[in-house]
Symmetry: C2
Subunit: 341 residues, 2 copies
């Protein structure tokens, strides 16, 4: 039986990436609710998907998976209702925006088999350079990992952003929203849990969005765990001359070498995306990621079929979210008072 | 009249770089004391330099400049004696290792004209990519600067290091010693003083030097100043496959673009050192630094001649040292307790 997808949440264009992978892996885009900024595009793309209310979707036993890329602060309620109705949830990151929501998810999945709540951290699951960097680090290729450094600059694209983009109550804030990718990478590289991690420092600010005073267009966080420090920076300041949506980097420092991924672009260097470099005792080299397969869709469907946790554990999705919420909650202002921003 | 140099401090090989630039700029290597790990090499190189005791050097009115690359915790005493004798001091970084030493330097130079105490931050003054990155940032090329990120990984070269290298009492610790380059860059880029800067977080550790338990082979610091955050990482973990002594990077994020310098190497990319990249509204490009001239030697001699502060202000040398000492003093352990290092 092919798994059937119902979509509630067409507010972020990640919905296309998520549904596309699941359909290519064998699922059927069966139903969608009729609201959200990308409704028209979705209906023109998945022409066989049936319009439905969310209540109808929840009551429809033929729907196995609820996909959501709703406004982030609405994702938890959608997930909770779907889990209660026996569905598997695949949510765009961030999975939610408050610790109360996370507590409700914890309670909902407690004791359930498998992984009812999947948060898709696309910067690792969709990017082969990041995925391979993480795999190499975990394999011991550069020895014990002592420092992880991430950068996630994004393009603002102010004119094409919906109102909720500018509201940290809606997005969860920059550390929760786009910071979740980097926390996912850090915890995966080091095999750490949220309980292992302390937020050492965090800051968020508005340095280039005077029309949207609540907007957090820059942020950073420093995390510590046993034997390892993790520094992450984020912003929406990428200049349009970059030619792509961002310039995400991941540097993994081991005691025997360094792994560096340039996820989106090798500025003024090699063509295309997904660049991976290793420096170790043997030398300095590009690693070909051409044989790395993006297979999260297949892994997710396999997990759904047998209650496995190939793609990620339930604990991992919860732990990443927990660390992000703690960093966001601890965040002070950007720079010191006297800022001219 | 050509300026005449006396060298007291042949313990770090930076002495060759410093003397070389000064001689090429027109100074004379006139005298040196007969001790230090690089004595033999120095005597074979500057064959006309006369051996002298430091007392003789101080009493010799023909000596204008005292150069020191002594063991770092001895540099302040050398500088204080030289300043008291009316000499200009050019010291390898770090200029000193304790706040008491810095207070003594402050007192010694107070009210003196010009800049009696020069600390040479070679990662900017000797590297044209870093120098040009800093100049571009100050010129407004990428708008107001909101984030500065530095990386200073170095090679350990354990077998060829002197005993003092492993002793943070001697070196001042990793944030003071090699971190001083990055603090120099941050303060120069932002035109900030030490009074503008708060140390938000700092950590140092020993992750790969079990034979030298006091050694700090890794460190990081996060600084904040009005409107800007500055993150810096340092280590001695560079694998020998890199092919050079380190892989220093400087990323400057402005509200209108990003400047990135790769000081030593463009791993698996373009040949040679000194790589500079700019991303702005116009595009993504390498910046040719072929026309940038390393001229700190000439600037220093001009400053010496007329009491100017072309190369740096006295306040800047003091401010960089002050921030580094504060970060070093605030540094906690690397990662959380439970480290397996």
């Amino acid at each position: 039986m092919r798994a059937r997808i119902g979509v509630n949440g067409l507010d972020h264009n990640h919905v296309f990436e998520i549904v596309d992978r699941l359909v290519k892996a064998g699922a059927v885009a069966a139903a969608h609710i009729q609201e959200g900024g990308f409704l028209e595009a979705f209906e023109g793309w998945q022409t066989e998907s049936r319009p439905m209310t969310f209540d109808e979707m929840l009551a429809d036993d033929s729907i196995d998976i609820v996909v959501t890329a709703a406004i982030p602060n609405r994702r938890a309620d959608i997930a909770l209702a779907a889990i209660a109705a026996g569905k598997h949830v695949v949510t765009d990151k961030p999975g939610l925006t408050t610790m109360a929501q996370l507590d409700a998810i914890r309670a909902a999945v407690a004791g359930m088999p498998g992984r009812p709540w999947t948060v898709l951290f696309t910067e690792r699951y969709e990017n082969r350079a990041i995925a391979e960097a993480v795999r190499l680090a975990r394999s011991g290729a550069v020895g014990r990992i002592v420092h992880v450094i991430g950068a996630g600059p994004h393009t603002m694209w102010a004119k094409r952003r919906p109102d909720w983009f500018w509201d940290p109550e809606a997005t969860g804030g920059i550390l929760v929203d786009i910071g979740s990718h980097q926390v996912d990478q850090f915890l995966t590289i080091t095999a750490m849990t949220a309980a292992d991690v302390e937020v050492v420092a965090a800051a968020v600010g508005n340095v280039a969005s005077p029309d949207h005073p609540a907007m957090q267009d820059i942020g950073s966080m420093t995390l510590a765990a046993p034997g390892v420090v993790s520094d992450h920076r984020l912003d929406y300041l990428t200049a349009k001359g970059l030619g792509t949506w961002g310039d995400c980097r991941l540097t993994i420092v081991g005691v025997d070498g360094t792994i560096e991924a340039r996820a989106n672009v090798d500025i003024a260097g090699a063509e295309g995306a997904e660049h991976l470099f290793v420096v170790d005792a043997e030398g300095t080299r590009r690693v070909d990621i051409g044989d790395v397969v993006v297979e999260w869709g297949e892994q997710l469907l396999a997990d759904l079929a047998d209650g496995g946790e190939r793609l990620m554990t339930q604990q991992h999705a919860i732990d990443v979210t927990d660390v992000c919420l703690r960093a966001q909650g601890a965040a002070g202002p950007w720079g010191l008072a006297g800022s001219t921003s």
